[in-house]
Amino acid sequence: MKRTFATVLAGTMAVTLLAGCGSSGGSTSSSGTQSSGTQTSGTQTSSGSAAASSGNVTLKVFDAMAYATDEYQTVIDQFEADHPGVTVEIQHAANDSNTILQSRFNSGDIPDVFLNEPGSSAQLYYEYAYDWAKDTDTLSKFNSDAVALGTDESGHVYGLPWTYETMALTYNVDCFNKAGITTLPVTMEELEQDCEKLKAAGIQPFAIAGKETWVLAQMSTHFIMDKSLDATGTVEGLESGKITFADLPHWQSFFKLLDLIKKYDSDKILETGWESSENELANGEAAIIHMGDWAQANYTKMNPDAKLAFLPVPVGDSADDATVLSSVGWLYMVYKDSPNLDLAKEFCEYVLTSEQGVKWMTEGVDAVPASNTHTEMSPSGDLPKDSQTYIQAGKTNGWIHTIAGSSFSDTVGPYIQGYLLGNYTADDVTQAFQEYFSSQG
């Protein structure tokens, strides 16, 4: 009796074990409308509330960000309402999206629509992606510079661009006013004078997120940029060995900036994470950080009254040298062998160009869309508005860190940290950058 009971128990346990194993893939895509504020972290899944009738189609969407999910859900609901029988199943994977997407591809659970950062990340998936090159009607709805970011050398277009993302030094306007800074610094010497003024006014000049290697690496790309070559040209030149770091016009200024940061940032700079960096800026505890306009929603949440603006990175001698780097945050890519190819294409186009979708991008996410269908709508935040001005004035250059290979931040970031700690000299850091780019060629 006892033994039979034990056998049954063991059997049940084994079955549960196997069942648990089998459903683990599905557990991330539970249904039900789940939404949260802007930019949540972690993996969460929401799927449309819609139709449960038979014979319906489920469109699987892998979303690598989770910005303004409430408004996003409205777009999806609208899409489902326009397409009876279609259910959109979205996985929002804001954290570790690369790993999750890779495991979904490896396990054969390939989403119909998936998002990637343009550049090295997206290139990994080009062989799976639908080529939009012949859909000229669709492509004409996007700015050509943005489409170019998802285009390879032979003209295949593997993804549709989402919104622009712009980065530079960001400063708190009130802090600058309090310190009596009226014109933006255009050289490192002027920046140093302004740091002194800020310090005299009792404000910590910098709060760079030194813990995050990606912040440091992104910051360094302003000094790599050769404006005559733009991002692609500079990276290609460095990788092929045609130019070296000694040829870069503004590279040495990077160490001037790092020296300023060493002098005027907190002693615990390598402990500052991106959240506290953004927080200190928004609340006026520190005047300058390096970040992009994607953080606008965070700033607004941290301090609704914060007045912020971009400070073009003063890499050279004049305002013309100063850099603001802008690119597209995400590419919407369609799986080319998807059974729902047309629907997936329609979905991308709907999300990126429809009135509802543009409303999500401008009002919800507070960003500048890469599509040109509803230019009457524009973002309201300080930084996206600022970046729109720079983009329209043609003063922006492309992003280097996204096309420099996926291990760029992890490789060079620690060397920058080492310089800030005094473990490495400027030459050590330069050599590490040089070796990184040579190894990519």
Partner: protein, 305 residues
């Protein structure tokens, strides 16, 4: 009688065998299948991938032979620094966690109210989720230390604990010891309570002092606990990953990159899947050798009651 009994006995023998086979299938096969699918088959596939150049996503794998291994041994500095970190970490972790937990276990092995509360107290960190642990320590090292520094002025609280490589190393050892000490303590207590009291009393009567009684009588008898605790703490130290992932991300200046974290980064951030599998094979081989030696050494020390 005999004629009647014999076939029955044969039948029952057969039945017993059949029953045993059935038992084997019911009890062992599910577990075996699970281990096979989750561990052994992926391991074999690992060996296969380690000779390819593959980004982990593409359908095209390029055969490169032992090129991945050559690259690891000749030009991968970060991998070997991560080894150095992991070995240092394991060394300190194994010694400190075992010494502390054994001391606590000796103090709390008696059956009284104080000991019960004490055990719970030490066990709690072990059952807290890792995310909570990381939040707790971020708070301790951040705002808590800051305000202590302001009120006391002691430089101990003002140091950049997570911003300097050496200090971050100490912090990691402290956190992992604090987190796991309860687990090893329970193991040691289990060993200690199973030692018959008369052995210790006999030692006392023979004139052994407490120190001698512990080393000469108690310690050899709890050797099975020591052996299992050393094994688990060794493998924990080598495989250190999760706390790095949520807490330091390998920083500052790559000083806390463990081997497991380096392999993870190689596979999923750098998209060098082949290289990562090659690295993991080296890692597995090393762990097998070390734990093998360790088991041998401690098994020799074990004594039968």
């Amino acid at each position: 009688m005999d004629n009647e009994k014999k076939p029955v006995r044969v039948h029952s023998k057969k039945g017993k065998k059949r029953k045993e086979t059935l038992m084997f299938i019911i009890f062992v096969v599910p577990a075996l299948a699970f281990v096979l699918f989750a561990t052994d088959i992926p391991f074999v596939m690992n060996i296969y991938y380690s000779v390819f150049d593959w980004n982990g996503i593409s359908k095209n794998l390029t055969f490169v032979g032992l090129e991945n291994f050559r690259k690891i041994f000749t030009s991968d500095k970060t991998y070997w620094t991560s080894w150095w970190f992991t070995l240092r970490f394991t060394f300190f972790y194994v010694i400190i966690v075992n010494a502390i937990s054994l001391a606590i276990a000796l103090a709390l092995s008696k059956e009284n109210r104080f000991a019960q509360v004490g055990r719970a107290f030490y066990y709690i960190p072990y059952i807290i989720s890792l995310t909570a642990i990381s939040l707790i320590w971020e708070f301790i090292l951040g705002p808590a230390f800051d305000s202590l520094y302001e009120s006391t002025g002691w430089s101990f609280f003002g140091m950049s604990w997570l911003g300097k490589p050496n200090l971050a190393f100490i912090v990691l050892v402290v956190i992992t010891v604090w987190e796991n000490v309860g687990f090893y303590m329970i193991n040691y207590i289990a060993g200690i309570v199973s030692v018959p009291r008369d052995y210790m009393e006999a030692a006392k009567i023979d004139g052994a002092n407490r120190w001698k009684a512990f080393w000469k009588v108690m310690f050899p008898l709890i050797m099975p606990s020591v052996s299992i605790c050393f094994l688990t703490s060794l493998t924990f130290g080598f495989k250190l990953f999760d706390i790095i992932m949520v807490f330091t991300k390998g920083g500052p200046v790559n000083s806390t990159v463990s081997v497991a974290y380096n392999i993870y980064k190689e596979a999923f951030t750098n998209n060098h899947y082949g290289t990562a599998t090659a690295k993991s094979l080296i890692f597995v081989a090393f762990i097998l050798i070390v734990t093998g030696i360790q088991m041998r050494v401690t098994k020799k020390q074990e004594v039968e009651l």
